[in-house]
């Protein structure tokens, strides 16, 4: 075996060699560096996307139940089934009224949702129409930044009034305050802006035009149906009960597969499941470059063994065992890939810190452990073959090698 100080001596020897061959060292570890960078970045972006989507749903407020046509979220498949959103039934005012009668349910909000282009004067912006009732603002904890929100009476009266999301108000009127009292046009209709709600951070929400659902009846929504119904429950303890009752209510009119009732926590856990798969997939893709990097190291180590055949012979002659030679080359390949791994990790931390300003990407312990663990493992795995070849060289042939 190697001596007690053997390990540090191996590291020192490898370091000295790397210093003599700086360019080769850097180029060799570049593969691992890129591999680790891509794995860590993909994990960071995957986590970021998950955080982003989770925040969007959490922004909807707690104690929320979402009723959607078809399988919706969750369900047996645990995913956004392709058939789920398109097929199934469409809800109408009667459903909303029936659901409102459930004692645990405080708010019942019908939702008409459609993307559109909105104009004001010469400005034209893409936006979303959200036809809802007055409970929507309470459900979303939305407050008026400027002007006022529409009331129950207004919501029931087909009045052509609109409350703007903060971003769309800025885009159309520069200062949200200017929007109040102005007229906007979309879908060949004119609406008067009565208020702007505070910025929520949810891009879709902030770009929306919120109008009384009844004012969509007509050319926007001729069937008078709803895309979805949001229910707000008074207290968290009653969510399960409310969900059950809502299901029972809807079953009176629709078949079991025509609609889905999902509470927010279910959506969040579905998102978790989806992203576990997506992250696994991303790691698998990133790992390909790690393997390529490992093969690069193996290639260089094989070249290095050939180049140093005579040296191996000399070392054997002065008393190096097969193991000594094995460890010498193994140390080099592990250090090369660990070096690549550490630099790749540091680079990805820097990149993540930069993109965090725009996107909630994050590096977790798993990514760090994975990066360092895998890069060292690759160093060992791809280093073993060249190192074994070096250690098994017959000393005589090695010494005579020119």
């Amino acid at each position: 075996m190697i001596k007690g100080n053997g390990i540090s001596h191996l590291f020192k020897a490898a370091l000295t060699d790397f210093k003599r061959n700086k360019l080769r060292t850097i180029l060799t570890s570049l593969g691992i560096m890129i591999g680790v960078l891509s794995v860590v970045m993909l994990i960071a972006l995957g986590l970021g996307l998950k955080n982003y989507i989770q925040e969007q749903f959490e922004g909807l407020g707690a104690n929320l139940i979402i009723i959607m046509p078809g399988a919706g979220f969750g369900g047996d498949g645990g995913g956004f089934g392709p058939a789920g959103i398109i097929s199934g039934t469409e809800f109408d005012e009667k459903d909303v009224n029936n659901l409102k009668r459930i004692s645990e349910i405080k708010y019942a909000v019908p939702l008409v949702f459609q993307s559109t282009n909105v104009e004001s004067g010469a400005n034209k912006e893409s936006s979303y129409i959200m036809g809802v009732n007055e409970d929507y603002f309470d459900l979303m904890n939305a407050e008026a930044a400027e002007g006022a929100l529409f009331t129950k009476t207004e919501a029931q009266s087909r009045t052509k009034i609109a409350v703007l999301g903060y971003t769309i108000a800025e885009k159309l009127f520069e200062v949200p305050d200017n929007a109040i009292g102005k007229t906007i046009r979309f879908e060949n209709q004119r609406f008067k802006v009565i208020g702007v709600i505070e910025k929520t951070g949810d891009n879709e929400q902030d770009r929306s035009i919120i109008i009384p659902y009844k004012s969509t009846f007509g050319s926007i929504n001729p069937d008078k149906t709803f895309w979805s119904i949001y229910l707000g429950v008074e207290s968290e303890d009653n969510v399960e009960m409310a969900k059950q009752k809502a299901e029972d209510t809807l079953l009176k009119r629709y078949g079991e597969d025509d609609f889905s009732v999902t509470e927010q926590s279910e959506i969040l856990s579905t998102i978790d499941q989806i992203f576990a798969v997506i992250n696994g997939f991303l790691i698998a893709i990133g790992s390909i470059s790690l393997i390529v990097g490992g093969i690069g190291i193996m290639n260089i180590m094989f070249a290095s063994v050939t180049e140093r055949t005579k040296e191996i012979g000399i070392r054997r002659a002065v008393g190096a065992t097969e193991k000594d030679i094995l460890y010498q080359f193994l140390t080099e390949s592990v250090m090369l890939s660990a070096f690549g791994g550490i630099v790749g990790l540091l680079l990805s931390i820097v990149i993540v810190l930069i993109i965090r300003r725009f996107f909630p990407a994050s590096i977790n312990a798993l990514a760090v452990i994975l990066a360092l663990g895998i890069s060292s493992a690759i160093g060992i795995f791809f280093g073993v073959f060249p190192a074994r070849r070096a250690s098994k060289l017959p000393p005589i042939e090695a010494i005579r090698y020119e």
């Binding site: 040296e311 000399i314 054997r316 008393g319 065992t321 000594d324």
Partner: protein, 225 residues
């Protein structure tokens, strides 16, 4: 001290069996100064590497101080090579990436037991003794052949070996420098009390040793042909 009993070493070159060393029995006593003399391809180098434990015999026994070493593991053999044997080669075999001093200290890295000397001091003293101390930070390709061979000799002496095995140590040197190296070989035997085995094809070189072992076609022969 060293005893070979019916030692053979065969190689395979493709399908063909090459009998490099064939049924060789010989004995070398402590502190002897002997030469193994033979022409190119006679098997003299193979014989030397067998004695130096860099080769395993195909058959036969090698006894070192009465102990059979022909069946030892790589680890044990390496340990014996490290502490017991010093090699000097025709082409010096220094590692060019290492300085003279680093080359000289190389065997110390592979010692498994305790050493009773300070490696740095011993290296300095030996380098001084052989007149190459001022070259200790040079790289081998920046010094002359004679100096390189002296470095190789210092490296071979580093671990206080009992045996020095020299394979054509003057082969790559001019006659004057070669003579100087042979003087050193002689003094290793006389002054350091080391067994020196000199492998050569030159009768004149072999004549300087106290005993000549002739080898021809892998066998011990009565005289040099």
């Amino acid at each position: 001290m060293i005893k070979l009993q019916k030692v053979s070493k065969y190689y395979y070159l493709g399908e063909e069996e090459v009998k490099a060393v064939c049924d060789v029995s010989l004995q070398i006593k402590p502190k002897e100064y002997v030469s193994i003399l033979g022409s190119s391809g006679s098997g003299k180098s193979t014989l030397m590497y067998l004695i130096g434990l860099l080769e395993h015999p195909t058959s036969g026994k090698i006894l070192l101080d009465g102990k059979d070493v022909s069946k030892l593991s790589d680890e044990e053999l390496s340990h014996i090579r490290n502490s017991y044997v010093g090699f000097v080669f025709q082409s010096f075999n220094l590692i060019n990436r290492f300085s003279v001093l680093e080359n000289v200290l190389l065997p110390v890295k592979y010692t498994k037991g305790n050493i009773d000397f300070n490696p740095q001091e011993r290296a300095d003293n030996l380098l001084k003794k052989f007149g190459i101390y001022d070259r200790k930070d040079f790289f081998p390709n920046k010094i002359s052949g004679g100096q390189q061979q002296r470095v190789a000799i210092v490296r071979a002496l580093m671990m206080k070996p009992k045996i020095i095995l020299a394979d054509e140590p003057t082969g790559n040197l001019d006659s004057k420098t070669g003579d100087e190296i042979l003087d050193i070989m002689e003094s290793l035997n006389k002054d350091f009390g080391v067994t020196v085995i000199l492998v050569t094809h030159e009768k004149l070189v072999a004549d300087r040793t106290n005993r000549k072992i002739y080898i021809k076609d892998g066998k011990i022969s009565d005289k040099y042909l």
